[in-house]
């Protein structure tokens, strides 16, 4: 069969998917670009062309800069904590002990819990009057009086990060565990015989096997964390005093709460650009890591 016909046939088979993708992704993305150069409102006025005004206004505003810092802080701290906790949990689950299979099955639970349910659960745990965290810390003598964990700008973001980590580190652990199980036993045994200490064994024997899968997890988790919306919306709505307002929350407020579709679109594209830069940087990193191993 000639190659061109096979290629044509492939495109024909992909046609339904392409039509769907153009309708629900391609067209909206292009229209977001168009809107970002207008002063359109969400409902009613179509808006006129305003050039780069929206971009200048958004990039220059303190709201964007603060949301960018909040988002970066959230992404860096939560992903770093998830990686460390995930690898530690995987190293543990890679040991032989009774109940190991059951413990590994438990790790599925936080992953499977819907994000909104997770956010709701932690909101209840952090409740300033009746929350379990206040009760537990007070009963253990670690806290004098009940605190409003989500109500104080100083603690709200950290409280959110803890809730996010709890849901996501088990997935990192399962990915790392799968990688650990690919490490050949005789290599670790040989390193042990050669007198390598635990740290050196981890660094030089195990880490080469972990690096690739962990990098993939790091990429996906960072991009997810940078786009974060659900958990923050349910737990704090960006408050108190905008201390947990990330970029996605800011876009939501601009485009939907204030119904400024034009400037909301420009902000959304700035976020998209940032995520794309992240993704490209990571792709380069991944390619280099793949070349090295």
């Amino acid at each position: 069969m000639p190659g061109t016909w096979i290629t044509t046939r492939a495109w024909l088979l992909m046609l339904p998917l392409l039509v769907v993708m153009i309708a629900v992704i391609g067209w909206p993305l292009v229209d977001t670009v168009r809107l970002s150069f207008t002063d359109a409102k969400l409902v009613g006025t179509a808006g006129g062309f305003v050039g780069l005004d929206n971009y200048a206004k958004m990039l220059g505003g303190s709201n964007f800069q603060r949301a960018l810092i909040t988002t970066t802080w959230f992404a860096v701290v939560s992903v770093a904590a998830e990686m460390v906790l995930g690898v530690l949990a995987a190293l543990l689950l890679n040991q032989q002990f009774r109940g190991r299979t059951a413990l590994r099955a438990l790790m599925i639970l936080p992953w499977a819990l819907p994000t909104v349910v997770n956010a709701t659960l932690w909101r209840l745990i952090y409740n300033p009057e009746y929350g379990a965290l206040n009760a537990a810390l007070t009963q253990l003598g670690l806290l004098d009086s009940y605190r409003s964990w989500l109500g104080e700008p100083g603690s709200a973001l950290i409280a959110l990060i803890v809730a996010d980590c709890w849901k996501n580190f088990p997935l990192v652990a399962l990915i790392a565990l799968a990688a650990l199980q690919a490490v050949p036993r005789d290599i670790t045994a040989a390193a042990l015989v050669d007198g390598a200490g635990p740290f050196n064994r981890f660094r030089y024997v195990i880490m080469p096997y972990l690096a690739g899968p962990l990098l993939v997890a790091l990429v996906l988790r960072t991009i997810e964390a940078f786009k974060v919306f659900d958990i923050i919306w349910v737990m704090t709505r960006g408050g108190p005093a905008n201390s947990t307002r990330t970029l996605s929350i800011l876009v939501y407020q601009e485009a939907f709460s204030f119904q400024r579709a034009g400037s909301g679109a420009s902000l959304a594209l700035i976020v998209t650009l940032l995520v794309t830069i992240l993704a490209i940087a990571y792709a380069a990193l991944l390619r280099r890591a793949a070349g090295a191993s």
Binding site: L17, P28, L29, V117, T120, R185, F256, A268
Partner: protein
Amino acid sequence: MERQNPVFTAFVYLSALLLAIVILAPLAWLFVMSISSAADLSAKPLNWWPDEIDLSRYRALLSTIENTAGAAFVASLLNSLKVAGMATLAAVAVAIPAAWAVSRTPTVSWSLYAVIATYMLPPVALAVPLYMGLAYLGLLNSVFGLALVYLTILAPFTTWLLKSGFDSIPREIESAAMIDGARLDQILRLLTLPLAAPVMATSALFAFLLAWDEFFYALLFTSDLRAKTLTVAIADLAGGRVSDYGLIATAGVLAALPPVLIGLVMQRALISGLTSGGVKG
């Protein structure tokens, strides 16, 4: 694999216990809240286990008497089922031919990267035109409109999963059948698709879970019982008006039950999916 040092063994068991507590404590507390009376939940010091098990919220939320919290909850449950079900079916339907084509045709495999790249787009980049488009079509606050929007997430995702599924089915089987004179539609219908059935089922379940979880678009595009999904209903409950924390917890337990059960049943598929992803990295 490690030395059988008793101190090390004790350390392993202590760490395992700690990990189990970290994972289970919040989940257990969600369940305890759902069966505790309001008095137990507002007691100081807090009652960690209820004096009497109170299942009234489960009855209340699952009742269909009109204009109650239960009717709203059941309606949102049904909406979630409808939206996730329709979106999953549509996504799998368009993804199967595309994934097979990409898997068997090296000259178009680059298009898969374009499809996966869209998966990284933040939903906010599409939300405003989608809102205006749905409004124009009269599909705001409709399960059909929301299911359509969910294709932005599910279509690339299922195509990606199915493509790696088709990759694992040797194409030699298809070539052999072709030499025997079978037509392409016969090969796909009688050979490839039956072989890919487990992968298709797994992909569909993952897609369903993704739609069941979705919150952002549901929050934007639905406004009342006709289309509000479970995630939005729970966020509404958590957001204020309800003062009975046990009721919120019960809604959470009920919403978490299907994905948690699916997750436990599918752990093997999930873990092998993670492994193959890892190998590729």
